[in-house]
Symmetry: C2
Subunit: 426 residues, 2 copies
């Protein structure tokens, strides 16, 4: 029976057209990282299973992780996220590395998901982290960098970055609402899911937590206040709470119009300790976050090292590509070739290819025809290649050491010696 | 117990320094591919197990493949080589694609190996293929491209490409030595391993195959002739054999000094059908092939498609990096940064960061200090960043809307307004 030519479920084949787009997107990542002074790193695709079992969320490990035993009975996993690898790498060389570290990576990651819009089993993710440094400055830098990524695609104004602070959430739940740790956690989850549930489910969930006899009503109104009160007022009301830190960071940002305080942003539950944020399509046409991240306190504690705090975010390529595509901002695949060389017969290869080398040494892109003979067919191939010029080694012309230079756009032709062509183009 | 910070056996962590080198090497691949008009593609890291079971060599599947069952009981494998993915992708879109296709990819691949010099469990591999087109021209093109890769590292003259032809091997074994298919295969294996075994083992292996009473001696002398006779003489002696094709291709190549006919090059056994080749360090200091490939006839037959012939090669990053390193040709990690911005206190972030944006919009790389206050420490950080200039927002200077521009090389300083700096550098 013939083999199936389908890719594995939830993965993509990148034919040259799609690969060109992916490359251009990744090059934009690298370009903006260069401008902000971030350095690229990468780790192995396989990691020890323990690396994830120790820290990653339970759903991820129990339901989404690709793990197996290798031939030496080591339990390994395909990386589902980059942060554990980052933590391991930093812990391994803590003595040599000099924080603050500004690092980024563009790994491919695997999660066992039900493939759907915005979610696949294999995706690439821009991961950006600042480890060490002054927290307030690093927070500002990472938020400006996130905005900068979208500037580089020409759409900084099309996104909205919603920002919250986990210590502020904890403060409000404990000190204002008087909830214990367990109830705080439950309430965070309900707030986190607020936009994905109905008003009814949300309210009944909230009341279940707050219901403590007479206290339910005042607490519900305090919770409403938490959700609805703008940052400035909240800051005035609780000036000595962690909301002061959040206010400070948002004030230092160059373009306040991109950022918005949003008290229901949570970003997972046991990981982040400071600022948390998520970026969305401002038009609202796609409700999935395009990127998200936050500040964590204990990146390398699991490795028995002193704590090193940091802030970072991740941006998956699937949701980003959807966003860019919906906004007509996806880079185009533009095949570019300077010269296409046509041959009357295979015997011309040696001379033509020697001249192609001269052109390539001068940085030109040169396609040698891989079918000699029929010039009409070769002209079509030249057209498909996107060549600016075609170089035809005509038999008669070559007897006089000349070739035909055809401008593919205007179809005008000249008969020139190779030296004349060199003079023309160099 | 603390987690181990070691990477999984046989894999590498790429810290910024190593990543910079890897990126530069891959960018050279992409640059030379652009000059030759090859297009990049990529496929998923996980493929169906069947894709390899069907075609890849038995040792690879039974001993080196990383395979497992996913949560939906699909048997999957981490790609150990790229060609099966290429074949699958081409088979899937054969109707739309217009050969000749000139494609390349730089995938990471996994093989369960005993880590050693030149061999790891995870490596990256440049894969280059031409599918369709005139075989003679495509063969020439791929060989010139392989040489071109080394030219781009400045060492085209440091490699030697040994070339053979599988149809010629088969012709000689069957028509000249009179061996049957089984013995031909055995003899190919012995020739393939000639350089890795002792003279004694080689001779006894050969005699075991050739020993057929009176025939052994004349056959042994014919085999010696096969191994020792130069291409030109061999071609004269067997003008109508497949060696004519090999001669023709080698004659068309622009730089004959890089290529060498070598009758013991085999490149695996069931896969290649035409030209085969391997590239080596000319100095002989590393006996492992840096790259290798050849012509195959039936890339997509397994998918029930008409045959599409092609030629390709693979070059692993581990052996290549060793070669470049031994020849002092490895790209250097050069941290480059145009401006490092120093701050007397966090309050200066907003203004400084706004100016950083202006500079970044003009394509400069700008590092904002992530620790304000101590200028001496910030100067050290500026030094480490490799910055050409440091921009110091001095408190006194900023009162007059001026900053200190320090040339990090000469240590000379000027007090200038931001407009003056803009005029100076734009």
């Amino acid at each position: 029976m013939a083999l199936s030519s389908q890719a594995y479920k939830g993965t993509r084949d990148f034919y040259p057209e799609e690969m060109s787009v992916r490359r251009q997107v990744f090059e934009k990542f690298r370009e903006i990282a260069r401008k902000f002074g971030f350095s690229e790193y990468d780790g192995p695709l396989l990691e020890s299973y323990d690396l994830y079992a120790a820290k990653s969320g339970e759903e991820l490990v129990s339901q989404q992780l690709y793990s197996f035993e290798d031939r030496g009975n080591r339990k390994v996993a395909i990386r589902p996220e980059m942060t554990p690898t980052l933590a391991r790498m930093v812990a391994a060389k803590l003595g040599e590395l000099q924080p603050p570290l500004k690092w980024f990576s563009i790994p491919n990651l695997y999660r066992y998901e039900r493939p759907q819009k915005g979610r696949l089993r294999e995706h690439w993710q821009l991961n950006v982290d600042i480890l060490g440094g002054d927290a307030e400055l690093a927070d500002s830098e990472i938020l400006e960098f996130a905005a900068g990524v979208f500037d580089s695609f020409g759409c900084g104004d099309k996104i909205r970055i919603r920002v919250n602070h986990r210590a502020w959430v904890n403060y409000y739940m404990k000190d204002v609402l008087g909830l214990d740790a367990e109830k705080s956690l439950k309430l965070s989850k309900i707030l986190d899911a607020k936009e994905k549930t109905t008003e009814e489910v949300f309210t009944s969930g909230v009341l279940e937590i707050l219901e403590e006899g007479d206290m339910a009503k005042p607490k519900a109104s305090l919770l409403k206040e938490y959700i609805d009160t703008p940052l400035v007022e909240m800051h005035k009301k609780y000036p000595n709470s962690p909301i002061a830190e959040l206010s400070k960071v948002l004030e230092t940002l160059g373009r306040p119009e991109l950022f918005e305080y949003d008290p229901i942003i949570m970003r997972g539950l046991d990981y982040y300790t400071g600022i948390v944020f998520e970026g969305f399509d401002r038009s609202g046409s796609n409700r999935r976050a395009i990127f998200g991240g936050g500040r964590y306190d204990n990146l390398i504690a699991l490795f028995g090292k002193q704590e090193l705090s940091g802030i970072g975010f991740g941006m998956g390529d699937v949701v980003l590509m959807d966003f860019l595509s919906e906004n007509q901002l996806l880079p185009k695949n533009q095949p570019k070739c300077d010269f296409f060389v046509s041959l009357p017969s295979n015997d011309f290869w040696k001379d033509a290819s020697a001249f192609a080398k001269v052109l390539r040494d001068r940085n030109f892109s040169v396609q040698m025809s891989l079918k000699s003979g029929n010039f009409k067919q070769q002209l079509k191939a030249a057209d498909r290649s996107g060549a600016s010029f075609s170089l035809l080694f005509g038999e008669d012309e070559w007897k006089e050491s000349k070739v035909i230079l055809r401008n593919m756009k205007t179809s005008s032709q000249e008969v020139l010696s190779l030296e004349e062509i060199s003079k023309k183009v160099f």
